[in-house]
Amino acid sequence: MSRYSAFSIFRNALSGQKNWQRAWRAAEPKPSYDVIVIGGGGHGLATAFYLAENHGIRNVAVLEKAYIGGGNVGRNTTVIRSNYLLDGNTQFYEFAMKLWEGMSRALNFNVMFSQRGQLVTAHSADQLDGFSHRANIMRLNGIDADILDRDEVRRLVPYLDFSDTARFPIHGAIFQGRAGTARHDAVAWGYARAADGHGVDIIQNCEVTGFLRDGDGIVGVETTKGRIGAAKVGLAVAGHTSVLGAKAGLELPIESHVLQAFVTEPLKPLVDQVVAYGADHFYVSQSDKGGLVFGGNLDGYNSYAQRGNLGVVREVAEAAIALMPCISRVRLLRHWGGVMDMTPDASPVICPTPIEGLYLNGGWCYGGFKATPASGWCFAHTIATGKPHPLIAAYGLERFRTGHTLDEAGAGPSAWLQ
């Protein structure tokens, strides 16, 4: 793999841009691997990269049923933050944030990580108290957090509704300056290229249809490209964890739900930070091309359809205009949906499973993009050593049985309410 540099740009310019190397090889499956990672999304590709980079395990394949980056890693709204409240989440997402801060350099690929800051508006004194509590927890964990009063919020984001007729008046906000966004496709491509550089085979158009067994354990997979053996298999298939889990014999506390994302026509620079509405479910940032990128609630019923329904379009538009009346006449360019695993506590499951040789990485709900590097790092550790990485100790499946759930949203055990 030749490295990207100022020199490589210069050299390729001289030869008319015709001699760039492929970013990763078009690999075909070998008969067997040390590790197979199912799912060529951000988490699967990051796992493969860290297996090679951190653990020296290079005889690895990533199997992707379609093309890499076509799943949620390329469908999300790219918000990255580490403003979590609960022990277990706080440290894990901050570890991810630190990896984001060094990612472009580590991968030799510009993922356009932009730490523009994120603020969440508070709409009552109680909510602001709650945010202060969260900010204190964050600071105790060494994470940056600020509480802003109404005037400070107004100075930062004057285009929000500060009028007397605002549906929910703004009392203040919680702000994390190191939060931001990244180019999501670049994250998939960067990890793919870097993993390929370590010898990992990235095999696209290869759907896993079943598992090869030896007794109770799993020793490989059946795919649309034939049988492939593996000492260990890691599952990282985002919204399809139940489908594949069932084939392996896993019963899971997961439902698949659709989340939609929206992009408007391009505007001049307006939204400098990521802004989230504390009174409803709406959040927005502005892309480098000028489009406002935003999202809201789940569609809220089990779905594998990978497209959303209109009811949510209206709800999100209502929330958007309640917070930002100035965009009421901006046109929506497109919207799409992604299928995600929803767990009953909105936290992921990333752990060894009771089935020998099978490791699980799923349940990321609607917030898993920001977790990508830490998820890959910790999952690679878990697969390599057979033991959960300390940072994911709270994310085991047994937490639902023992009552140690991490219900960050406080919504109770109904996946569609999380």
């Binding site: 399809h240 139940s242 997961i254 698949s256 019923y301 089990n302 329904n309 009811g311 009953p344 569609w416």
Partner: protein, 98 residues
């Protein structure tokens, strides 16, 4: 857009309804002391890609709880019935998650 044929009110936009989750899970008997049974009832879901039996309540209509059979891959609805009729036949437990 989903449209649900309410047995009381006719064909309605799904915005009039509230989702109530998987209707195929059975609530353990009230005095069931087995934590495993409760764990499975509260948390374990088959989450099919295909036909799914699920509760919907017609909140802005007749307020009845319905059982809808819907294909989760394309939202095609195969059947709608009143939940109380089914539950009277199947189990005495009230399944309303509200």
């Amino acid at each position: 857009m989903l449209r649900i044929e309410c047995p009381c009110c006719g064909l309605r936009d799904h915005d009039e309804f509230r989702y109530g989750g998987d209707a195929s899970v059975t609530r353990p008997a009230h005095h069931d002391p087995d934590p495993e049974a409760w764990y499975r009832y509260v948390y374990i879901r088959t989450n099919q890609a295909g036909l799914h039996r699920e509760f919907w309540q017609h909140v802005t209509g007749c307020r009845q709880w319905l059982v809808v059979e819907r294909d989760t891959r394309n939202h095609a609805i195969a059947s709608v019935s009143l939940a109380r009729k089914l539950s009277a036949r199947k189990s005495p437990a009230r399944k309303s998650p509200a």
